[in-house]
Amino acid sequence: MTQPLDRPLDRPVDEPVSSVAYDELELLDSDDDRDLRAAVAGFLGDRCPASEVAALYDGDRGMVEPLWRGLATELGLAGLLVPEQYAGAGATAREAAIVLEELGRSVAPVPFLTSAVVAATALAHAPTDAGRELLAELAAGRRTAALVVPLPTAFAWPVPLVGAATVRSVAGVLEADTLLVPVAAGTGIEVRAVAASEATLTPVVSLDMSRQLADVVVDPAAGTVVVAGDATSAIRAGLLAGTVLLASEQVGVAQQCLASTVGYLQERRQFGRIVGGFQALKHRLADLYTAVEGASAVARYAAAALAADPGAVEAEIAAHTAAAWCSEVAVLAAEEAVQLHGGIGMTWEHPTHLFLKRAKADQIALGLPGHHRARLGELVGLTV
């Protein structure tokens, strides 16, 4: 009558035996993690007020450049994921996850995810000489790059190539001076670095103006090849890292929405009571807390798995799991925040809308949750 819990998996995944003890990956902040978190949170607390983020929607982008300059150079975060051999900090996705949780908590309008994560990871995969020079410039914060793919592009999909037509809805290019352009080359792909000034960038009035998109027209023959050999796997590596770390950003968004909602409901009075004492609201918040705790655990696991072995199937399984869960939870948290703040949650003045817009845009970025679930099913041998 018993089912042993430790039976081998019956699944058609040809996964090599890994030397990584995945069930022992550390999912708590270390002392160094806490220092990094405090540094980023302190910086953003001073330099990224919600009122200035809201001003982005009214066309004032004045905060973006100094904020990114400060994070990139004062805190040295631009080179966090750049290997030491290319003059970077040589940190891993674990540390980047801490940074992104904090960036999400402040809906900071900086190109950390697009340049320091996606572009830097793709470049570091197999850089040419020119790519190595570019990496060092990125690490030093002297240049900022963006991979020219539509924001909804998921790493498990075929990589879209840049032809003569417009590439729509690209994130990070408005803050970048260097575009990484995937172009067809023979039977494969090459990535060319093109100066942003040589491309035509048309800003999009975006759902999320704290990560404003642009439509890009660029000559596919322009620029310099920066990834050696076929760049397919380099682009996938960049998008994989982006997916994993976007989940951490979503955790920050969700945690902030939960915290602000709990805080509001601890103060707001109706019917002579603190409204957070009504069981209908308490139970909603308990469920939301449970979902957000899960998001923070799975996002950290995905980052730790990626850090442990970026080429392992486990990193992909964890990435899709985290993406599917965290993108839904961030939207749920933001939507609950709007509702549970009552009328104030619908106002321009209150920052909740900034989180709702980021959360909904993030849900569509780098693959819809359903795409991630479908791909996860393929990886674990559960298909329709």
Partner: protein, 395 residues
């Protein structure tokens, strides 16, 4: 002690007590004496005072050597709830008397907490313990008592002072289940079987030496037990596709004729949620390694209950016609199971048994209150009985 040192110590123990040629009981007692039973317990109580997180490694080493185990499934309440409570709250004499036979599986424990009139409102319990000479006399009725029919001892909460508000008049005891005043009657469940019981206590004599904590301090001790219970129910380590998810995934692979896009997306949603719960549990265990379980374990148990229910329900749909058949022996016929097994028997049993997961060990509604109040700091429910003597509360 480093993991490597601990590993060496296990190896040395195994060399001295070869599992193949050592009698089971002698082996278990020797393992306890060597501090290799529950390594996070203190020395002298079956442990070495090392991190809780090292226990799985030790279990793995003993299992790999073919060593006999202490049959933990038969004493889940003892190991998961009673032992940590004894460690945290009992006297040194009580620990010396009870912990070793408990760990070795020689004394089985059950939990006399819930009553017909005190379920979610456990603190409203009415079982009375009245001082009598150097001990107490207990009268009352308990219910939902898993394994009472196999138990040698029980943990009991009883009212010792009806004249103070409910939380303050409760005392925590250890009870000999073989006392002639203890009557155990099976309580049949929706699965057809009776894994739990009604327990009637009639003039049961308990020596004062069997009291845990101070008179009137039983609620605090009971909460220590309940926090451990929620962790014990929701916090097990399992591999990917261990537990209920693995059974449903296997059904999916075995029933291609049932595959639709709608069922598939529901399956994958639950797959993701089960994985998220697994990582949450992994992190919770890392937190536990450095402290006692807190109210955050309640969130884990909420998730576990919902997942088990949704997965076991989906399993019946994926099985289609097979989902209509309750074919495991003895079907609906009344029986007494050896132990609880959420993932055992057949799919119909699992679907029905899972309904209990959101009731036992604290209903999901009460757990949401606990999370909201103790984790998020939201105000408590208004309580009309809070400052009223227990005997004055209408019931």
């Amino acid at each position: 002690m480093s993991p490597a040192e601990l590993r060496d110590r296990v190896a040395a123990f195994l060399a001295e007590h070869p599992p193949a040629s050592t009698e089971r009981s002698a082996f278990l007692h020797a393992r306890y004496a060597a501090g290799l039973a529950w390594v996070h317990f203190p020395e002298g109580h079956g442990g070495l005072g090392v991190a809780r997180g090292l226990q799985p490694m030790v279990e793995g080493l003993f299992a790999a050597a073919g060593a006999p185990d202490n049959n933990p499934r038969a004493n889940g309440i003892g190991l998961g709830m009673v032992a940590p409570t004894l460690l945290g709250y009992a006297s040194e004499e009580q620990r010396q008397r009870f912990l070793e036979p408990l760990w070795c599986g020689e004394e089985i424990w059950c939990q006399l907490f819930s009553e017909p009139g005190a379920g979610s409102d456990l603190a409203g319990l009415a079982t009375r313990a009245v001082p009598d000479g150097d001990g107490w006399v207990v009268n009352g009725q308990k219910v939902w008592t898993s394994g009472a029919h196999n138990a040698d001892f029980a943990i009991l909460v009883a009212r010792t002072d009806p004249d103070v508000p409910k939380h303050r008049g409760i005392t925590y005891f250890l009870v000999d289940m073989h006392d002639p005043g203890v009557e155990v009657r099976p309580l049949r469940q929706i699965t057809g079987e009776a894994e739990f019981n009604e327990v009637f206590l009639t003039d049961v004599r308990i020596p004062d030496a069997m009291r845990v904590g101070e008179v009137g301090d039983g609620w605090r001790v009971a909460n220590g037990t309940l926090n451990n219970e929620r962790v014990a129910i929701g916090g097990h380590a399992a591999p990917r596709e261990g537990g209920m998810l693995g059974l449903v995934a296997a059904s999916w692979r075995e029933h291609p004729e049932q595959h639709t896009a709608e069922l598939h997306d529901r399956l994958m949603r639950l797959y993701v949620e089960a994985e998220v719960a697994r990582y949450t549990g992994q992190r919770l265990r890392q937190q536990l390694a450095v402290g006692q379980p807190g109210p955050a374990g309640s969130a884990m148990k909420l998730t576990f209950a919902r997942l088990n229910q949704q997965l076991s329900g989906l399993d019946l749909e994926i099985r289609g016609e097979d989902g209509l058949r309750y074919e495991s022996e003895p079907g609906w016929t009344m029986r007494r199971p050896e132990h609880v097994d959420f993932t055992g028997r057949d799919a119909v049993y699992r679907y029905l048994r899972a309904k209990g997961n959101s009731i036992e060990g604290g209903t999901s509604e009460i757990l949401r209150n606990i999370v909201a109040e103790r984790v998020l700091g939201l105000p408590a429910e208004p309580r009309v009985d809070k400052d009223v003597a227990w005997k004055e509360v209408p019931r």
